[in-house]
Each structure stands twice: as structure tokens, then as C-alpha cells.
């Protein structure tokens, strides 16, 4: 094992293990006001009147009229309001906040507020939604010719549903007016500078008049990438009005219904096949944005870039739209658009293979990209594509090919087995030239006279181990023991903006930046002196510039690669599927800490299994999410997948620290296709499955329909 990969005791292990870590809900209650949201009961309406009862002393009602600056939360664009404007656009949209010392009284006041609405017709069906937030199109090759010359043309639709991040710690933020007039906001979040930028505009103040600190954060997975900007602005406005600290922590039902989730999708594929190979793909992707734009543009971009999968498709046309519905605005969740389209393309290839009478993997293998090939956006795969080796490794691990042949034979009896495989990639870092043009990451190292070194960056520890891996990198370059280097939770008053904790970029991009910064410090090191060294992002030379208007160029500098195999047993009497084995092979380059990276692989893999199987969530005809508790939104327990094993295949990335690549999102992306393909094989009889999650009820429907 590489030296750097040797696991160490994580730096935040002790405090968290002993229960001493202070999450935002753990701060003292004294003098802190409780804030609770007044929310819209309708999916779409004009707000006619909000009638507030007389408020006891020390209790406040806060709404748009209390916003000192702009009543919009900047999340890429500015359409998300802090508090509702003239209309409400989804059930649960915050109209105002009631704030005061006693929670019971706050609840009582909320119950007494009368809201009058002028009801409007909501748009709830993605299929006929007509407000297009974003519309992208790109392609290459000659589509007409390819379709004209095709032996056969395949058309199919695939749908994926919501997925909720279900971080164990719900959303929570606290705003505290400070003595010198600044506003201090802290809480459970991933991107301190995002919140900073948003709050500045909302309070109408300068960058030095507000600072944001990340508290110990109980999970994020993307769910705390943008949402905390909204909640942060809301508590800031409330704290400003009340002149006192305000803390708002969501309860679980609130979090499940009203915070950002994975975009449900509807993907249509039209594929031309000639001489047993795919010659063209015409893809139409629709993502359900919910009521406001938030991150939909970027999620959609990534989704459509991945829509032809790991396959070399010379004639490609992709159109993607993010559409408005009057539902909870959707946002970032591990994978960020890719899980939806990778599911679709893998199942499409699988179904074509079925029709051609070839084994699915055999068919897919004919199309796998190689180093040097052109990407979907006419960039290049600059580095080796280890997928073929990774497939062999998985085959060794779980006997995939033999089982696939075995389970292909007709099965009768109550229990039927299947095994599925899927391949995928994840492009680490911001799509396109975002790192270079938008983020422009800066990091610093502060060396103290006593020889300890503090890392100054804005990336947040959310469980993925940055408080350990960042110091590991810096300590190694400086040849220091690990306990001499540390990384605290970022406070915008103290740290530069090294970019958000998203897109699997922290270790690969900022970790490399820190490594270079440490080298710089090493060369400048003076014992006993106080020193500060800075490093700025520089795009690697080999990257082909990406132009968003044309969707051309290198969308990502490099890719992490994944192969998943899932073996299942379907009980045809109940529709329940037992997972016999879940196998993942992941290339994320050199692991900066073996245990930490494995923990990320296993955690992401299990989230993917949930997304594929039990995590059904939908809204009713009024636009209300009904799966609003842990008994209705089912994530895996320790008893659900007892045989989950991951392995690492290492292809070093020269521009990542010690060869590391972005890792966090990869393990979730490819899982649904492997699972659904396995269930499909178990059911046999030529059934073609095209949705995720594929639940017990879905399974039963197929069994009954096909008379299995």
C-alpha cells in the first residue's frame, strides 16, 4: 500500500465517538430564539393575506417585508425567495418565520396564523410541464445518416424517482448578531462561501459584515450544498429583526417534505444499431426541477454529458430540459444528474442486447471507450480507461459471467435469481471550466512559530474525512507528524475561498492545491517564524477548454471509473428482492487514506442500492410528498445488505495529490442499473424494466402481468 494510503486514526474520531462534538442543535439554549417556518399549504396560489395574531412580548413574525436587502437567495440564479413574494409555488414554501423563546408558544402562534390564498392551478406532471427553466442541446457526427442506415432503431423511455439524502442530522442554521454589528451565521452546511455570498445580498451588507462558520455537520451528500443558503438567509433576517440569536432546526418530516432532493427524471432514448453495434443515440432528458431553479442548470448539464454512458458513440444528439413543477425545488445529491442518465443508458444497452439475443455485458463491451477516444462533448479521454480490467476483477470476485449464464436459463419456482452489472464514470470537479473561471480556488497554510501548521481552506468536513486527509497531505510534504498539522471547520472570516464542497472536488482539486502549497512552505520554511503561504488554482495544461454554449470540450479533466455487480433473489410470492451480494470496483486513483476511501465507497454504494430498490418517494395529486417519515421513506438498515464488498482499482491521476481522483460521488452513480438488470434477469421471460426505484410492488406488478 502507498504510504499515504495507510489509514490513520481520524482527527475528529475522538470527539465524535465520545459524543462531545457540538452540532448546531447542541449549543446552549440561553438567549437563543427558536425559529419555525410558516409554510404554504397549497402548491400554487396567490397570497392574499397573512393574518398574524397579537404576539406576546419577545415573539416576532418575520417575512419578506423584513428583508433589508434583496428578497432573493442567490443559488446560481436569483429566483428563490428568502420568504415568499406575491405567490407561493410549492406546498411548504416558507411564507414567514415565527421566532421566540419558547418552542411551545411558537407552535401555538403558528397554529393561529390565518393565511388566505387565491388558489391557482399547479403543474405537477413532468410529462406535460411547460415552463422550461433550462434547455441545452449538443451533439456530434451525422445523425440523419446513421439513422437512415440503421438495421434497427430502438426507442424506449426510462424514469427515475426522487431520492432524499436523509443525512442523520436535519437541516439547521443559527444566526447571531454580534456586538460590533456583524452577523455571525453557523450551522450544518457544506459551502460556507455560498452562504456568505447569499446572505450578503439579502442583508444588503458588505463581505466583512457577515461571516459564516460551518459547525460539525451530520452528513450532507449534496443536500447541504445550496439549501443552507436559503435557511441561512432566513435566520439572518430573523435575527436582524429580533436583535437576538435565532436558531431554526428542521424536524425530520419537514426535512423530508420541504428540502432539496435528487431530480426525478424522464429520459427518452432512440438508438440506431447496425451490424450488431450502436451507431447513433438520440437522447432526450427531462429533469423535474421543482418550483425554483436553484442548481438545476448544473445538475442537468452533468446529466446530459453522461447520457451516453461509457460508450463510444460517434453520432450523438442530446437534448436536456429542466422543467418547473409546483413541488419542492430539487438540487444536489451525490451523483448530481449522472445517476439518472447512467441508469437509462445502461438499461437501454441491456435491452438492445436482449433483442439481439446477446449477453448484455458482451454487447456493452463492444462499445467501451478507450484512452484517446472522444467524449460525448468532443473532449478527450486523456487517461487510461481501466473498465475492461475492472470487469475482470469483479468477475473474479463474484463469478459474474458464470452466474449470468446460469441465471439466464429458464427459472420456475418461488425464488428466482439474477445478477446484473453496470459500468460508469464520474467526472470530478466542476463541469467544464468552472474551476478556472468561476471558483478560482485559493488556499493557505499558516505556520505558527511553534511549528504547527494550520490549513486555511473553505471545504467542509461532512464525514468524508477532510479534517484528516487534508492534514495527511500537508504533513507528508512538510515531513511533519500528523498531529502538527490541523484543519478546523471553515469560518469565512478566517479562511480563503477554496471553493465549495461539491462535485467530488475537495481532495482532487483542493488537496492538490494544498500539496503544492505545502511544497512552497517547505522551501520557504523558517524555524520559529510566523509564516503564511498561499496557492491558487491552475488548470492542468492538457485540458481542452470547455464552452458551455456549445457543450464542446473537456467537461472534466479526468474520470473516476466504476463497475457494480449485484446478485439478487426475487420472491415471486411477495415481490420482495433479497440482495445476495453487492460488489463494487472503484477507480478513484490513489486512496489518500484506505479506510476513509473505502468508507466512502461502501456508504455511497449502499445509498445507490436504496435508490434502486426501496427509496420510493412521490407526491400526490395536490403536490404533497407523502413519504415524510422514516417509516415511509425506507433507507437501508444494517440488516438489509449483509454482503456488500468494495475493491479499489488504482489508475493514478498525475494532477491529483499522489494520483488521487475525485471519489465521493462515484460509488452511487452506477448502482440502479446493476440492481434493476439483476431483477430483470430473475424475472426472465424477456421482461424489460425501465424504472428506478424498482420496488416490491413494481416487481409484483410484472409478475402478475406476465403470469410468472
Amino acid at each position: 500500500m502507498e504510504n499515504i494510503s495507510q489509514p490513520v486514526v481520524k482527527k475528529d474520531h475522538e470527539a465524535k465517538m465520545a459524543g462531545r462534538s457540538v452540532y448546531v442543535g447542541d449549543y446552549e439554549n440561553d438567549g437563543v430564539l427558536v425559529g419555525k417556518m410558516l409554510r404554504s399549504k397549497l402548491a400554487r396560489a396567490r397570497l392574499s393575506d397573512v393574518n398574524i395574531p397579537p404576539l406576546p412580548n419577545g415573539y416576532f413574525y418575520v417575512d419578506k417585508s423584513d428583508v433589508p436587502g434583496d428578497n432573493h437567495v442567490n443559488i446560481v440564479m436569483d429566483d428563490t425567495p428568502v420568504y415568499a413574494r406575491e405567490t407561493v409555488e410549492y406546498i411548504g414554501e416558507p411564507i414567514g418565520m415565527v421566532v421566540g423563546p419558547e418552542e411551545a408558544v411558537v407552535d401555538r402562534i403558528l397554529g393561529e396564523i390565518q393565511v388566505s390564498y387565491e388558489e391557482l392551478e399547479p403543474v405537477l406532471d413532468l410529462g406535460n410541464a411547460d415552463t422550461v427553466f433550462f434547455d441545452y442541446e449538443y451533439g456530434k457526427g451525422n445523425m440523419e445518416k446513421a439513422f437512415a442506415e440503421a438495421d434497427k432503431i430502438y426507442e424506449e423511455e426510462f424514469t427515475t424517482g426522487y431520492q432524499d439524502q436523509t443525512y442523520l442530522e436535519t437541516q439547521g442554521m443559527m444566526a447571531e448578531p454580534e456586538e460590533n454589528g456583524t452577523m455571525f451565521i453557523h450551522g450544518s452546511l457544506q459551502c460556507a462561501y455560498y452562504v456568505h455570498g447569499a446572505v450578503m445580498r439579502v442583508l444588503g451588507c458588505g463581505p466583512d459584515q457577515v461571516h459564516i462558520k460551518q459547525d460539525v455537520t451530520g452528513g450532507g451528500f449534496g443536500g447541504k450544498e445550496a439549501f443552507p443558503s436559503i435557511l441561512g438567509c432566513q435566520v439572518a433576517v430573523a435575527a436582524k429583526k429580533a436583535g437576538a440569536p435565532v436558531r431554526c432546526i428542521f424536524d425530520r418530516r419537514e426535512d423530508l417534505e420541504f428540502t432539496s432532493k435528487r431530480h426525478p427524471s424522464l429520459c427518452k432514448y432512440k438508438v440506431a444499431v447496425k451490424n450488431g453495434k450502436v451507431t447513433a443515440m438520440d437522447i432526450d432528458v427531462k429533469f423535474n426541477s421543482g418550483a425554483y431553479t436553484t442548481l438545476s442548470a448544473v445538475v442537468l448539464q452533468r446529466g446530459i454529458i453522461c447520457s451516453n454512458g461509457i460508450y463510444n458513440i460517434e453520432n450523438l444528439h442530446v437534448r436536456g430540459r429542466a422543467l418547473k413543477t409546483n413541488t419542492t425545488p430539487n438540487g444536489a445529491y451525490r451523483g448530481f444528474g449522472a445517476p439518472q442518465t447512467f441508469f437509462a443508458v445502461e438499461m437501454m444497452m441491456d435491452h438492445i442486447a436482449m433483442d439481439l439475443g446477446i449477453d448484455s455485458l458482451e454487447f456493452k463491451e463492444k462499445h467501451i471507450v478507450k484512452q484517446g477516444d472522444s467524449t460525448s462533448t468532443s473532449g478527450k479521454y486523456h487517461f487510461p480507461v481501466p473498465i475492461p480490467s475492472m470487469i475482470e476483477e469483479i468477475d473474479q470476485e463474484c463469478d459474474y459471467r458464470r452466474k449470468r449464464r446460469e441465471y439466464a436459463k429458464p427459472q420456475t419456482g418461488r425464488y428466482r435469481r439474477g445478477i446484473g452489472i453496470s459500468m460508469h464514470f464520474h467526472g470530478a470537479g466542476f463541469t467544464g471550466s468552472g474551476e478556472r473561471d468561476i471558483i478560482k480556488a485559493v488556499c493557505k497554510l499558516h505556520k505558527y512559530p511553534d511549528g504547527t501548521v494550520e490549513i486555511l481552506a473553505s471545504n467542509g468536513e461532512i464525514g468524508q474525512g477532510l479534517r484528516t486527509t487534508f492534514p495527511k497531505i500537508v504533513a507528508r510534504e512538510l515531513n511533519l507528524p500528523l498531529d502538527k498539522v490541523y484543519y478546523d471547520h471553515p469560518d469565512t472570516a478566517r479562511v480563503p475561498d477554496s471553493g465549495p464542497t461539491v462535485a467530488s472536488r475537495s481532495l482532487m482539486v483542493v488537496g492538490e492545491l494544498l500539496r503544492r502549497c505545502a511544497i512552497k512552505l517547505r522551501t520557504q520554511w523558517k524555524d520559529g517564524e510566523d509564516q503564511m503561504v498561499e496557492e491558487r488554482f491552475k488548470e492542468p495544461d492538457f485540458v481542452i477548454p470547455f464552452y458551455l454554449d456549445k457543450f464542446q470540450g473537456d467537461a472534466y479533466p479526468t474520470y473516476a471509473w466504476g463497475v457494480n455487480a449485484l446478485e439478487v433473489e426475487v420472491d415471486t410470492y411477495t415481490g420482495l428482492t433479497k440482495i445476495l451480494g453487492a460488489y463494487g470496483n472503484f477507480d478513484v486513483g490513489t486512496p489518500i487514506d484506505y479506510n476513509i476511501v473505502m468508507g466512502q465507497m461502501e456508504g455511497g454504494f449502499l445509498q445507490g442500492i436504496g435508490y434502486a430498490s426501496t427509496e420510493y418517494m412521490d407526491y400526490d395529486q395536490k403536490g404533497r410528498i407523502r413519504n415524510n417519515s422514516f417509516s415511509d421513506y425506507l433507507i437501508p438498515t444494517s440488516a438489509d445488505v449483509t454482503n456488500l464488498s468494495c475493491m479499489l482499482h488504482v489508475e493514478k491521476y498525475p494532477d491529483g495529490p499522489y494520483g488521487a481522483k475525485g471519489a465521493g460521488e462515484l460509488p452511487l452513480v452506477g448502482v440502479p442499473a446493476a440492481y434493476v438488470e439483476a431483477v430483470e434477469q430473475a424475472l426472465g421471460h424477456g421482461v424489460k424494466l425501465n424504472r428506478a426505484p424498482f420496488t416490491a410492488e413494481d416487481t409484483m406488478k410484472v409478475i402478475m402481468k406476465e403470469g410468472l
Binding site: 410470492y573 422514516f630 417509516s631 415511509d632 438498515t637 440488516a639 438489509d640 416490491a696 402478475m704
Partner: protein, 272 residues
């Protein structure tokens, strides 16, 4: 104690039940989720009189405040009941959840209640006026409606000792733990001298109450296994007509399909 009563004896508890509107609290795992405002609780979890597991003639008497974990650890509780109770929620819930609470919640999803139905168990109720014993099947009147008078407490469950050994049980939830039943089925077959004495089939979580159709079950009484096989299809068809199910977290069609599959599997497993 504000908003609560901790009686020192069952008699005291019954007095409080009569004279106040305190809500009986055994394990609390349903009540605390409900979290009614302004409620007062009558805490029964300390009463030794409600915590026994003992033999009583043809029955095993289980105090209403016996927890599921206690049942799992007792030699007197039949494997069928243990199998059902072992799949309730998760350890922490089983450690506090009780038989009395599971019944008192009035839900057709209650895992222990399904077993009580299929076994023909009885429930003993007590009030300041005395006691009465009711058949489990007669105790559920409808959705969340029990034959429980305002002054009464559930004090004991009487589980028959005999007739449980040849059983079939399946819980269908959404995942392997922390799962509320979407369909549950329990079946019993007693055969003596080559003839069926009694067939019992109960369906849980699929309607307002747990379902049993004694008239359909009786069609098998007195028959040999072969004779029963001969009318199996007709019997299944009759069940198919009687199982008019409600929609819950899953569709009525799904529930029906699963119920019929499990019923058929039960009959066939037992040789019919």
C-alpha cells in the same frame, strides 16, 4: 407528578382509569410518536401484576405490559409468536413495546395481534367493576375501534397452548428491519387421525382489522388432506372473493396478490 400517574397497584390504576382521562401507557412506543398535546399518562410499566408470563390451564397468560423482548426470552412463548414478535421494528422498540400496547393501538398492522387472531386467543379486560374475557377476533370492531370500554384496561392476553405447532408465518414489509407490515399472514393446521381438525388463516395489515374467515376455514374440517386438496381451488377462489382489501402504502392489488400467494403456499406446504 404533573401530567402523569404512577399507580402502585392494578387496583389503583383502575381507579385512576375510571376517574380521569389519563391515557394508559405501557411501553409508550406508539403514544410517544402520536405525542398528543396536553395529555396525561397512566403509567402501567411498573405494575408487576401486568408483567407475568405463566401457564393458566389451556393457555399461556401474558401480562399486558410484557415487552416483546421479554417474550422472546421466555421458554413459555410459542415459536410462532416469537417469529412474529422478532420481526417487529428493531431491538430498542422490542425492548419497550408491549402486547397490551400492540393491541391497544387498534391497528391491523400489529404483528402480535395477527398471531392472537390466528390462534383464537382471548383478552382479559379489567375495570373497577370486575373483569371480562373477550375473544381476540371479537375485540377489533373496525379501523382503530376496539371493544374497550372507557373504564377498562387490557390486563392479560391468553394464548392457547395447543394447536400452534403446525404453523406458517410470513411478514412482508418494505425492508428487513424497522419495517411496518404491508401484508402479513399466519396459518395453522391441526390434523388428528388423518383428518383436519381445524384450519386457521389470518391476514394482517391489509384491511381495517385483521381478517379471518371462519366459515371458509370450516370447509376443511373433518376432511383428509386428499379430500382437502380436491377442494383447494374452490376454496382459494372463495378467499379471492372475500378478500376485498384497502389501499395503504401499497396498492390493494399488491396486497391481494401477496395474500393469495401466501395462502396457497401455506395450504400446499401443509400437504393440501
Amino acid at each position: 407528578m404533573v401530567n402523569g400517574y404512577r399507580p402502585a397497584s392494578l387496583q389503583e390504576a383502575l381507579e385512576i382509569k375510571k376517574t380521569t382521562d389519563a391515557v394508559p401507557y405501557a411501553g409508550g412506543t406508539d403514544l410517544m410518536v402520536e405525542n398528543r398535546k396536553g395529555v396525561s399518562y397512566l403509567f402501567l410499566n411498573g405494575l408487576e401484576e401486568l408483567r407475568h408470563i405463566r401457564e393458566e390451564g389451556d393457555y399461556i397468560s401474558i401480562g399486558s405490559c410484557v415487552t416483546f423482548t421479554e417474550a422472546l426470552e421466555s421458554d413459555l412463548i410459542h415459536p410462532l409468536m416469537k417469529e412474529a414478535v422478532a420481526q417487529i421494528a428493531a431491538p430498542a422498540i422490542r425492548n419497550t413495546g408491549t402486547f397490551g400496547g400492540n393491541i391497544g393501538n387498534g391497528s391491523a398492522k400489529a404483528d402480535s395481534v395477527l398471531i392472537l387472531f390466528v390462534c383464537g386467543a382471548k383478552i382479559r379486560l379489567a375495570s373497577v367493576h370486575g373483569q371480562r374475557t373477550v375473544n381476540m377476533e371479537d375485540f377489533y370492531l373496525g379501523r382503530k375501534k376496539l371493544d374497550l370500554k372507557p373504564e377498562e384496561l387490557i390486563v392479560e392476553i391468553l394464548l392457547p397452548k395447543r394447536g400452534l405447532d403446525n404453523y406458517y408465518y410470513k411478514k412482508v414489509g418494505g425492508r428487513n428491519a424497522l419495517a411496518i407490515s404491508r401484508v402479513s399472514f399466519a396459518g395453522l393446521l391441526t390434523v388428528e387421525n388423518g383428518r383436519i381438525q381445524q384450519m386457521a388463516a389470518a391476514f394482517g395489515a391489509v384491511s381495517d382489522t385483521v381478517l379471518r374467515f371462519r366459515d371458509l376455514e370450516d370447509r376443511l374440517s373433518g376432511k383428509t388432506l386428499d379430500e382437502a386438496s380436491a377442494i383447494k381451488e374452490e376454496l382459494l377462489s372463495a378467499y379471492g372473493e372475500r378478500l376485498v382489501l384497502t389501499r395503504g402504502r401499497v396498492s390493494a392489488e399488491y396486497r391481494k396478490a401477496v395474500c393469495m400467494n401466501l395462502l396457497k403456499d401455506f395450504l400446499e406446504e401443509k400437504g393440501i
